[in-house]
Amino acid sequence: MSRVGVFVCHCGENIARTVDVAKVAEALKDHPGVAFTTDYKYMCSDPGQALVRKAIEEHNLTGVVVAACSPHMHEKTFRNASDKAGLNKYMCEMANIREHCSWIHENRDEATAKAMDITRTIIEKVKHNKPLDPIRIPITKKALVIGAGIAGIQAALDIADGGHKVILIEKEASIGGHMSQLSETFPTLDCSQCILTPRMVEAYQHPNIELHTWSEVESIDGYIGNFTAKIRKKARTVDEDLCNGCGDCLAVCPAKRISSEFEVGLGNRTAIYVPFPQAVPNIPVLDRPNCTLFKGRAKGLAKDACGKCKEACLKGAIDFDAEDTFVEEQVGAVVVATGFQLYSIGREQPQGLKGYGEYGYGEVPDVIDGLQFERLASASGPTAGAIRRPSDGKEPKTVVFVHCVGSRDPEKGIKYCSKICCMYSAKHAMLYKHKVHDGRAVAFYMDIRAAGKGYDEFSRRAIEEDHAEYIRGRVSRIFREGDVVKVWGFDTLSGEQVVIDADMVVLATAVRPQPDAKKLAQVIGCSFDEHGFINEAHPKLRPVETNTAGVFVAGACQAPRDIPDSVAMASAAAAKVMGLFSAEELERDPAVAIVNEATCIGCMNCARACPYNAIEQREICTVDGHVCGHTAWVNPGVCQGCGTCQAVCLSKSVELQTFTDEQVYSEINALCLWE
């Protein structure tokens, strides 16, 4: 006979406001198999847990039901408490009377009755629970870091310094990410390259870091502690081992007028190129679609149209026939740090976004975005740091900075705040004023969101010391009239319309996920939000974990983030990885499916239905070794306990250990039999 203890939680007022918790405890006292019931204000608190432990010992309980919040919140807490009191922890279950009841109902009587029903079903389930043991899995102590911007570099360095091997993947030719494009950084105005490049070199030279640039993740299989990552090393055309970075090939390349991605269209590069002089590794890559030779080959020319770079290379490092290669790596943890892109000011917008027709879709040449301004202000940029407008190269005397272009604008498809724009626009206004002393900097803002250490002081400095004119209001229209860029806006504080004849306009465009972010998330198997940012496991308590065990997230691929936040998050992710690597084996919940080999007919319906590829076919042999049949086998390391196999099995031979048919039918019966 079961002896179940029922513990009903008030959750402060969260449950008790709508549910009569004492009544629930009282009503279930005489339920068959219940040996003890009680209620308490905060069951998850230390005294609350003590209550559970004491009851288990005093009443010799065989099962525990905590009627409180969602199991996502505190199942672990109470299972550990049960474990401490000597009860197998899988004999403890949560009855969710908060999210599923008190929070969503108003009528106290009906909510109380429903709370009783919910608790009763779980009591019936627990009566059929069996003691289980956690699954133990070995761990490969090597991490994969995807993306080598500042977040990826930081995470890789921290893990490598902790003594573990790291595979660092970057899809571009150089590591460094967006930070390498920035001129100065807020709120200290220290030069971005000066603080970044040493870290880039450190990551490149670290004995524990294996770097793959110009590479992408093709697939990731496996599970926490035991992932297999397939990496596509895109054909670089230049042999990384032979090349010494002399740059002779760049000098002879005839295709010189290709818009540079690094300069955001403000400068040109050759077809064989290094993105920027401080690139790491300093090994060129050949942009095949823009290369004279490959364009000729695509046209089907019998003879190669060029080949000057190969002739110039004294090391013989250039191989036009190089193809993509694949590397397979076994890793125990994955850190996703794929970063962001900026909302395009052009007419072309991805699905669901509209673009700014009223700002001319960025078709006015002197309307640029924030990243382009960074390049204009950067000492290594196309103008060597002089502020010159793109159309005619003149020094602009009036520059308008527009905040929130795309951000906080549901009409255009983006509801969220991009977080970094207030700060970088203040920085832009300052940099501009420092370089053009007689210039006029005007900023249109919605609100100034300068939360951070030294941030508000910084934005005030832009206004008070550098005399940037801040106008609270939106810009309604930007268009070209002769030589000037007309900016129509509205000052919501004075209630007046504002017209500014600007020489250049800088749009602080929204931070968006990388274009292929959703695809990558699917490859890795982690969830993403409506915009494509990767979801963290818990917004407050598990900010660097994802819903997939063993996969962590850092930087702006999770939400818009500035450099300090990205670095902090990267270090946090690294700490999580090292925590995982600190044990030899990993314990996992036994919430997995198991196959009853006696009844399984080996139809493999379950394997076809399994979304995680966790089910394999196994041979059954007679004593003398002849194969006499097949059955399904669930890999407990891969199984996520979704139960799909259980639903499709025709012979009822596969069951989740924690949700057996017997348990589920008992729950249903509990609803039908007790009124």
């Binding site: 509209k354 673009g355 700014y356 027709g357 009223e358 879709y361 009409e411 229209r477 268009f479 070209r480 009239e481 007309k486």
Partner: protein
């Protein structure tokens, strides 16, 4: 109450003229009726239509603002139509918003038959004249070519002016970018003319302030007309009666002395010109800014173009004939006697 109700489906499009097209903008109505049969658009005026409630209706009471247009939608539905064209921008806006709000609010949709006192399933789609004609762009091109007459619009630069209500709010913009719409531009191009890229296509014309604050309307209109002129437009094409009356009626005050005013024509009149319909039938003589000088200029250019083409053709024919003669003469001459 209307569960059993179904109207017999009917071909064509219901036509909701609203007060403007029966009054101040009769030429919009006349030109629409003139071009519709040519383009194969079967439009039929809704019987017993009533006011759309623009401005006064929805400013008095929200429900009234939704119900007044809905009555007309219900009438069109009862006649069996699945589409209604409302050329007036204010009518379009009220009808489309009413349709949209009822569709978005199931509670309201359920109450609607009682409020209207007639069956209503909210099954009618609302379009404006620019959408209707943009969708008919292929027919416009085809019928223009089929007139056999020279198209007076070839090469003329026109400014497409949308104003506010045809493309705003975004929920009723019918796939257009509220801030940079393109349907009128598309129709201009379908007519063989050139749509200029200009800055004021969605700016405010001042709307009904025309009577209470005329100076404001003149100031706003001046910015619109001057920008169109600065970008080389020879006329402004509109699809809204109020835009038309503000830019047309008040243009004298907007124009500097000695400057030729810019004709303001309805999109339907433009299509009518491409289709070769007479100016009188299109109501082009009803405007304050006379359209006659523009029309004369256009037909002059068309004639010149035609003459030029005829001359070229004749020259080419003469050349070909000369060549043929040479070829014909040569072998005979070369043949031994």
């Amino acid at each position: 109450m209307n569960a059993q109700y179904t109207a017999t489906p009917r071909e064509g499009i219901a036509y909701y003229p609203g007060c403007s097209l029966h009054g101040t903008s009769r030429e919009f109505d006349e030109s629409l009726r003139a071009i519709a049969p040519v383009l194969g658009l079967r439009i039929k005026e809704i019987d017993d239509w009533s006011c759309c409630g623009a401005s006064s209706g929805h400013m008095t009471d929200h429900l009234l603002g939704v119900a007044l247009p809905a009555r007309n939608l219900a009438l069109a539905e009862a006649e069996g139509f699945d589409r209604v064209v409302a050329p007036c921008a204010a009518c379009y806006n009220r009808l489309a918003i009413s349709q949209h709000e009822i569709a978005a609010d199931p509670g309201l949709a359920e109450r609607m038959p009682d409020i209207l006192g007639r069956p209503f399933r909210n099954s009618v789609e609302v379009v404006n004249a620019n959408q209707l004609l943009r969708d008919a762009a292929d027919a416009i091109k085809e019928k223009t070519a089929a007139t056999g007459k020279p198209n007076p619009l070839v090469g003329v630069k026109l400014a497409a002016y949308y104003g506010c209500l045809l493309v705003r709010p975004a929920a009723v913009a019918a796939g257009e970018d509220s801030e940079n719409p393109s349907s009128i531009d598309d129709v201009i191009r379908a007519c063989g003319a050139e749509a200029v890229d200009w800055n004021m296509k969605v700016e405010c014309c001042g709307a009904s302030l025309s009577f209470s604050r005329t100076a404001s309307v003149v100031r706003l209109g001046r910015a619109i007309v001057s920008d169109a002129r600065a970008h080389g437009a020879e006329a402004i094409v509109v699809a809204c009666p109020l835009c038309h009356s503000n830019l047309d009626l008040r243009q004298k005050a907007m124009t500097a002395r000695g400057q030729e005013p810019l004709p303001v024509i309805f999109i339907t009149q433009l299509v009518g010109l491409a289709l070769g319909l007479p100016a009188g039938q299109l109501g082009l003589d009803r405007h304050f800014v006379p359209t006659a000088p523009l029309l004369a200029r256009l037909s002059e250019r068309a004639l010149a173009r035609e003459a030029d083409e005829a001359r070229k053709k004749a020259e080419a024919a003469a050349k070909a004939a000369a060549r043929a003669e040479k070829v014909a003469a040569a072998p005979r001459g070369g043949e031994p006697e």
